[in-house]
Point group: none
Chain length 283, copies 2
DNA sequence: CTAAAATATGTAGTAAAATTACAAAACATT
DNA sequence: AATGTTTTGTAATTTTACTACATATTTTAG
């Protein structure tokens, strides 16, 4: 399953898979996204010179539940941000300019992911984790810290968790993966071959593999549930990897969603772990 | 005539003009914007414990044509970041609502810190680090991961770095601190006494102590250079610690500023560490 | 080139959702 | 307490989204 950032990208991508009448609909939607979002099924069908069922079939082919969802997705796409343009840090920047740019970059990438939240398989990930025997968070290098952080967060829900930061470790974990285990692979580019190998192995053994990585990576193709975060190449040596931040916050969001899904039990675990730290001096 | 940028702002503003039943609707919509946008009239009416016409009258009072338009306006509002002033996650939030709130919280706290960048002692920190013999990043628990991440980032500038996540470790490091060492303490509340102790000891031995922590903590009072990040108390068990994100990005900013200050040499080191990872398959 | 199969499209009907009309209830005012 | 006003819900109506099925079109195989 491939997930797209925005409706309209997906539309262009899938254009060839549509039938003649459906392509007319696709074209009209592409050229009048806002109008489509506010119009009724009958109006759209008429404007495309086709019938209502064809428009509905067109929606279904996009993986949507129907015309109503198309409206929602189009409205989202139309109000996507894209306004905050991140400028690269220059060697002649003042310290506060550079710092502001670093913050802007992080804020921007968070906003981007936020705007595509509805297209991300958070539900599916939560569904798998809800019934998991254990969670294994895997990450190398900078992503390793994200994996560790996630481990530290999720275990507080009362689920056995592990974090793995090394190659042999992840292969060993994959080798003994069981049906109800959920692996979460975190990687900026997803290009280290060993990540793909470990993911495949874990899946073969029946585990669910969640991947937070670039869409076009080998890791992505080996995942059961994919969170596609585009890996923007560093044009400048000074540019820090702001992908870590989005990975981190995305995992925050998943953890909160999981906590909600687990309900009372999780809430109590969270409370207890917080209380365990509460006997500190107030200063 | 008052023009509103977003539905939700208008909603809060007009709250007093609503009748009792309408206020129930307004409240529900404010706390579940995303859910409302995707739900049907009947569902919303039911969730608010009122009838369908009341919901429609509520829409009309907002100047909308009906429930259909409310859906569209809410979807817009929910996809435009920053529109939702962060509200706490409720136990009955949908996954989408909860995820958006988590992102909003992080985005908001980043924007807050961004707006006070000019008041932060980044120059001073960079000045000290520029001539440092070594950098020691200290953090316990969740902040430990931030410390590790920072260590992993700064060492690429060619400066000897260490990360410390345990109590004895930090005391030992402090005990052998030297004049040209820079310690960076990361802590959400800064209330663990051992952090203050270690910081004081390190300073006594002539090291520079940078602290990223709450202004009113014991750690803060023992620091030579303070980055005050307010520790907002968690009102809700589900609220994740978004302070980690600001700590992380702040350290990113400091690292970039330091790289710029070091100039050529640092740039070359960064380049080399990137090249060391570049012989990966392209898939 | 034709017959059969598969696919695409539209018509007409159905279910569901939004909206309206109107009456009952709650509230305020004298 | 009676009257007028506002608020709210019930039930009917209209509109909208969706489905089942029949017809047309294209594709494929002999």
């Amino acid at each position: 399953m491939v997930y797209f950032y925005y409706m309209l990208d997906q539309l262009e991508q899938q254009m060839s898979t549509f039938s003649r009448a459906e392509q007319r609909v696709a074209n009209w939607v592409l050229t009048h996204p806002r109008q489509t979002a506010e119009a009724t099924l009958a109006v759209v069908a008429n404007a495309c010179g086709t019938s209502e069922p064809t428009v509905i079939r067109f929606c279904r082919r996009l993986g949507l539940s129907g015309f109503r969802e198309l409206s929602i997705r189009l409205t989202e796409a139309a109000s996507k941000p894209g306004s905050v343009i991140h400028r690269a840090v220059n060697a002649d920047d003042t310290i506060s300019d550079a710092a502001a740019k670093v913050f802007d970059a992080s804020i921007q990438s968070l906003m981007e992911v936020r705007s595509m939240l509805s297209t991300l398989p958070i539900d599916q990930a939560v569904g798998a984790m809800k019934m998991a025997r254990s969670l294994v968070f895997v990450g190398l290098g900078a992503s390793g810290h994200v994996a560790n952080d996630a481990c530290h967060k999720f275990f507080r829900l009362g689920i056995p968790c592990a974090a793995v930061n090394d190659t042999p470790g992840m292969l060993q974990h994959a080798a003994i993966a069981a049906h109800k285990d959920v692996f979460v692979f975190v990687s900026h580019t997803g290009r280290w071959p060993v990540l793909g190998d470990a993911a495949r192995k874990a899946r073969q053994r029946g585990a669910t593999v969640v991947a937070i990585t670039d869409e076009s990576s080998t890791l992505a193709t080996n995942a059961s549930i994919l969170f596609p975060l585009q890996a923007t190449e560093d044009t400048c040596v000074f540019t820090p990897m702001s992908s870590r931040v989005t990975q981190l916050v995305l995992l925050d969001a998943i953890q909160v969603a999981l906590a909600l899904a687990l309900g009372e039990v999780a809430a109590e675990h969270l409370q207890r772990t917080k209380l365990a730290l509460s006997d500190l001096p107030s200063g």
